[in-house]
Structures are given as structure tokens and as C-alpha cells.
């Protein structure tokens, strides 16, 4: 049984009397224990909203989030809070997510204070030090403030805080995208080590394809709140089927000077998030669209036993040449 199952989740936001934004539109996926699932997509694709729903920070309009056999969306806030000890998060901007007026010891120890009130101060400090050591920081920084630390150290601090309750699942919301390349590499290798050591399960949000390949087992590609493709990471990166995945992956620039992939660009920019699409949301930008794309709903459909895509031009089992054909 998967550790996390997200089933048909929908979340709509409405500002004032304005039109509704369907931030998450019928998203489903599951993660097996010990694995990493990545959500990839551009800004506005809804990937962070999915993360917030999994963490219980947003309630979905409909759909279920089943974690460790329990439906989080049906739980009372009190039970949900108790469950949160096994479901933690590391966020994008380390500094923004750390209280600048709290010392390292209080920051990392705060979750313990909330979840284990019986713990003595000394025992709590021991746990904080152990957690800091796990992430390569020592007891020497207990009395320091986040502002005294470098970006990489701050993110290690965020990871130490996420680890201290011995969670089973950690949501990693772009944990390295604000970090420099050489620091990013140290954080990614640390997260991988921790995953092996503690059999952690990760939900990883990213827009950096090179990182995703290094880091994750399965990937879901999101566009305008929907999943357009889902499957094993290697397969999605090496052989994307959905025209949006194809465009997204072909636009990443290889750091190998001899290896320029042919561009498969989309036309124009992403539409306003309030636009409603009765059919495929990529209509108008897609290089292979046909007339019925505009009107026919495109549910996620299996194309191989492990992969699915939401495109009427992608047929089950095909090796994918169809996507190269010009529409007739």
C-alpha cells in the first residue's frame, strides 16, 4: 500500500468577487514508502498548492488525501495536527521560513515542544543536537540566530527542524532553488543520504529538470493545475509523450556544450489562470493540436503499465512518433 495517496483533488481560489482560479484540477498520484515523487511544472502550475494540501495547510474543495491509511481530508483539525508529526516540510526560502528572532536551539526544538510536552529541557536539547548533527551542523551553533548562518546552513537548519519528529514523509518545496549551484549539490546529497538512512518518503517540488533526474523515482508534470503526464522519472525525461512535457524538457539547457536539443517550443505564453478550458488546457499553444482538443475533455489515460498522459494525440502503447507528426 502506498504511504501517500492523493485522489482527484480539486482546489479553487477566488479573490473578492473575481473569477475563480482552479489552482489544482483533479490531481491524483501516490507515493510508495521510501520513494521520491516529483511534481514539476512552471510558475502557476499548481505544484505548490498540491504540496500545501498534502501538508493540510489548505483544504481541498473535493478529493481525498490518504496518508498512512488515514484520510487526512476527513480528519478533525485536532487529529490532523497530531498526524502532522509524521508529515513535515522543508521550504524554498530557508531564511523566510526561519524566525529571525529565535535561536537555532528553539527553531529546531519547537516541533518537539508542540508534539512532546513531557520531554525535559535537557532531553530536548539532546534531540536538537542529534538532529543538527544529522544535517552536518554541530552543537556549536545552538545559540546562534538564522541571520548569522549562510544560505546553505539555513537550509540545513530547515532540514534539521523537519527531521526532529522522525517523520515518514517530508514535503520538499523547491528546497534548493534559491541556493547557489555548489551549495545546492551539498543539500541534495544530504537529502539523499537522509532518505536512505531513515527510509524517508519525499514529495519533491521542483522546476529544475537536472535535479529531478538525480533525485526522484517518479514524476508528475503539471500545467495550469492539472497533471498532463505521470510516470517513472527516467522515462518521462528521456521520452516525454505529452506535448507540454516535450516542450518543457526540450527547453532545459544542457550544460554539455555539444548537446543542444532541438527546440520544440510552444506558441506564446501561458494563459491567465482564470481561463476555463472545456478541453485541453494547452489548446492555442500546442504544436500538434487538432480541432477536437478544444472541446473534448482529456482525462489522464494509461499509455504503459507505469505511465499515463492527458492528451488525445498520445495513444496507449505507441513509442511516441505520433507527437512529431504535423496535425492533418
Amino acid at each position: 500500500m502506498p504511504l501517500l495517496e492523493v485522489e482527484n483533488v480539486v482546489k479553487t481560489f477566488r479573490r473578492g468577487g473575481g473569477p475563480a482560479v482552479r489552482a489544482v484540477d483533479d490531481v491524483s498520484f501516490s507515493i510508495e514508502a521510501g520513494q521520491t515523487m516529483t511534481l514539476i511544472g512552471e510558475s502557476g502550475s499548481g505544484k505548490s498548492t498540491v504540496a500545501r494540501i498534502v501538508l493540510g495547510l489548505e483544504r481541498p474543495d473535493s478529493g481525498r488525501v490518504v496518508f498512512d491509511g488515514q484520510d487526512l481530508t476527513a480528519m478533525s483539525p485536532r487529529d490532523l495536527r497530531a498526524k502532522r508529526s509524521t508529515l513535515t516540510a522543508v521550504f524554498q526560502e530557508p531564511y523566510e521560513s526561519l524566525n529571525p528572532r529565535m535561536k537555532v536551539e528553539s527553531i529546531v526544538g519547537e516541533p518537539l515542544k508542540l508534539f512532546d510536552r513531557t520531554l525535559s529541557k535537557a532531553a530536548r536539547r539532546d534531540r536538537v543536537v542529534a538532529s543538527l548533527e544529522e544535517v552536518g551542523l554541530g552543537a556549536g551553533i545552538l545559540r546562534r540566530y538564522p541571520g548569522d548562518l549562510s544560505g546553505g546552513q539555513q537550509q540545513r537548519l530547515g532540514i534539521a527542524r523537519a527531521l526532529i519528529l522522525s517523520p515518514r514523509l517530508i514535503v520538499l518545496d523547491e528546497p534548493t532553488s534559491s541556493l547557489d549551484l555548489t551549495v545546492r549539490a551539498t543539500i541534495l546529497t544530504l537529502l539523499k543520504e537522509l532518505q536512505l538512512r531513515h527510509s524517508l518518503t519525499y514529495l519533491f517540488i521542483s522546476h529544475d529538470i537536472a535535479t529531478v533526474r538525480y533525485f526522484s523515482t517518479n514524476t508528475g508534470v503539471m500545467y495550469l493545475g492539472r497533471f498532463v503526464e505521470r510516470g517513472p522519472t527516467e522515462e518521462i525525461i528521456d521520452d516525454p509523450r505529452h506535448p507540454y512535457s516535450v516542450a518543457l524538457l526540450s527547453s532545459t539547457l544542457s550544460t554539455d556544450p555539444g548537446e543542444m536539443k532541438p527546440a520544440r517550443p510552444l506558441t506564446g505564453d501561458a494563459p491567465s489562470p482564470t481561463t476555463r478550458f472545456p478541453g485541453c488546457p494547452l489548446v492555442g499553444r500546442c504544436p500538434v493540436q487538432v480541432d477536437e482538443c478544444a472541446t473534448r475533455p482529456v482525462p489522464m489515460t494509461s499509455i504503459t503499465p507505469t505511465r499515463s498522459a492527458a492528451c488525445i494525440r498520445v495513444r496507449p502503447g505507441t513509442a511516441g512518433p505520433e507527437r512529431n507528426e504535423a496535425p492533418s
Partner: protein, 330 residues
């Protein structure tokens, strides 16, 4: 056709006054951009790449200060020109593209009005002529409905469209050199490539040149002809993109490339941090993180020296690096 515009930067030094002391942000950087070159300046936060670009463009503002060095464009020294002289060159012979298109565009003036200001800054033209010039410039950057864009305002544009407008403005006087500061960092990746194709296409068309500051090694690998790697305010390595990416000589360049995830490969990060830029080290700024550092590295700063055809490296131990790196990779 304007005269060949070579950009020559020599021993550039920029510092910032802070409460803690004087931060040496750029510490003796020099390079040449020849017509046809697309030079990528790469490095991580605090390496001085943006401060270098802004100094060249005359945009250094307090608490920043240019302490020394020369910037020469097309045989004229820019550093000694003063505001008026610089203004005749910037926007006309040198175009500037910034990171955030919405920071570069004025939110309360129509796009047409901003175009008119840009055009009239360097030539006489009636409002009607300005509109014609602007429409052509917008068509050249791939904007299909240029009339609608001209009549509108910045907030009505998407990020990709706004950056196209900025590029159209920056190139409206056919500058010989374009300075670009992270021109696609604020854009989505599916738009990034369209914009980079566009800018480099404009360069290649008429043997212009470009200096592009970026932290994205992919942008350099795919769009630049040459690369300058910076660390802690210094240039540490320079060469063609092929040379530097395939056989990096400086240990910092090697570390930078080792941090990029590759297919089936492991990644290696870099421990430690930048040296103190206030009490700038007298030796090599990379010495305390460098696996190859010896006594001479701590004592003497290695100058940028020729290290093969068209390439330079600032490392006491660079000799023999190429062979060693190639062997380690195979």
C-alpha cells in the same frame, strides 16, 4: 553600420561601503569582448559578476564605487567620460537588458511613450516616425500584434512579452554591444529559450557582441562563445565554452561543473564559503576551499595567465590540470 565595437575591461575594481567596512566586490577583473563574441560571465552569489556588468554600463551607485581600472569601448575610455558622454553611448551603441523586464519598464507610461523616449534620446524623429520605428522593432522580436502592445502598458504584458519589449527597446538603435544581466532568470523555462534564441539571433545577424551575466551554466553552454568564470570578485578562468566546460583548469571551475547533476552520475558540492571580502585575502581567494592548495596559494595571489590558445587561468597549480582532469573523467 557603426565602427567595430570592441569592449576592453582592465583591472576593474569596485567596492561597496558598509557599516562593517569596505567590501571588495570586484577585485581586478579584465577581459576583452570582440565583435561576434558572446561572453558569458558566470559565478555564484557574491562573485562580483553583476557588479562588473553594472560598472561597465556606468550604473554603479553609492554605496558602490569604482575604485580603479579602465573600461574601453570602441577605442574610447568609458570610465572617464562623465554622465553626458556616457549617455550618448549607452542605449545607442551599447544596449542593456536587465533581469526583470517589469523593473525596466515604467508602469505609468504607455509602451509607445517609452519607445519614443528611448528613440528621441539618440536621434531626431517625429511621433509618427517613432511609432513606425517601434512597430518594426517589436515585429523584429517576434511580437505579432505590435500596435496593441504599443498602445498598452507594462502590466498588460506577460513576462515573456515584457522581456521582448525590453529587448526591442535595447536594440532599437542597433547597438554594437549588448549587456545582459540574467536576462531570462525571471522567466519560465519554456519562454527562456525563445528569448535567448532571439537575443543571440540579433547578435549573429550583424556581427555584434554581447556580454551576458548568468548563474546558469546551461545558458553559457548553449548560447555563449566564450566564458569568464568569477569567484570572490576575481576572474579565475577564461576561454572558449568548449575549452572551459570540457577541460576546466581552475579547481573552482571544476567544482562548479561537478555540482551539476548529470545523467547517471553523482554530484559533488562545495563545503565552506566565500572568503572575507572586507579583509580580502592576500593569496588566492579560493585557497581555503581548494583541495590542491599549498603554501604558495595562501601567500601569493595567482594572476590570470595564458594557459593555452585563447584561454587564461588564475591558479598556481593549473599546469598539468588539463591532463589530470581528462584522465579523472574518463
Amino acid at each position: 553600420m557603426k565602427a567595430s565595437g570592441e569592449l576592453k575591461v582592465e583591472d576593474l575594481r569596485v567596492s561597496f561601503q558598509t557599516a562593517q567596512g569596505t567590501v571588495r566586490a570586484v577585485n581586478g577583473v579584465g577581459f576583452v569582448v570582440k565583435p561576434g563574441d558572446v561572453l558569458g560571465v558566470v559565478g555564484e552569489s557574491g562573485c562580483g559578476k553583476s557588479a562588473t556588468l553594472r560598472a561597465i554600463a556606468g550604473l554603479t551607485q553609492p554605496p558602490g564605487h569604482i575604485d580603479g581600472g579602465r573600461v574601453e569601448f570602441d577605442g574610447r575610455e568609458l570610465t572617464g567620460l562623465g554622465r553626458g558622454g556616457l549617455r550618448r553611448i549607452l542605449g545607442n551603441e551599447i544596449g542593456f537588458i536587465s533581469q526583470s523586464p517589469f523593473g525596466a519598464l515604467n508602469p505609468i507610461l504607455s509602451i509607445e511613450r517609452q519607445f519614443r523616449n528611448v528613440i528621441k534620446a539618440h536621434r531626431r524623429a517625429s511621433a509618427r516616425e517613432c511609432r513606425e520605428i517601434a512597430l518594426k522593432a517589436l515585429r523584429d522580436v517576434g511580437i505579432a500584434g505590435p500596435e496593441r502592445v504599443l498602445d498598452g502598458y507594462a502590466h498588460q504584458l506577460s513576462g515573456g512579452m515584457a522581456q521582448r519589449v525590453v529587448i526591442a527597446m535595447a536594440t532599437v538603435h542597433n547597438p554594437q554591444l549588448i549587456l545582459a544581466d540574467e536576462p531570462t532568470t525571471a522567466l519560465d523555462v519554456t519562454v527562456q529559450r525563445q528569448i535567448l534564441d532571439l537575443i543571440t539571433g540579433l547578435i549573429a545577424e550583424s556581427n555584434r557582441s554581447m556580454l551576458i551575466v548568468t548563474h546558469d551554466l546551461g545558458v553559457v553552454a548553449q548560447y555563449c562563445t566564450r566564458v569568464l568564470v568569477m569567484y570572490a570578485g576575481q576572474a579565475v578562468e577564461e576561454g572558449t565554452v568548449d575549452q572551459v566546460f570540457r577541460t576546466p583548469q581552475h579547481p573552482y571551475t571544476q567544482a562548479l561543473l561537478a555540482a551539476v547533476p548529470k545523467v547517471g552520475g553523482e554530484i559533488r558540492g562545495l563545503q565552506g564559503g566565500l572568503p572575507d571580502l572586507i579583509n580580502y585575502p592576500s593569496g588566492c581567494p579560493y585557497a581555503d576551499r581548494c583541495p590542491k592548495a599549498t603554501e604558495v596559494c595562501v601567500e601569493t595571489r595567482p594572476p590570470m595567465v595564458r594557459a593555452g590558445q585563447g584561454r587564461r587561468t588564475a591558479c598556481h597549480h593549473a599546469a598539468g590540470e588539463v591532463a589530470g582532469y581528462a584522465a579523472a573523467r574518463s
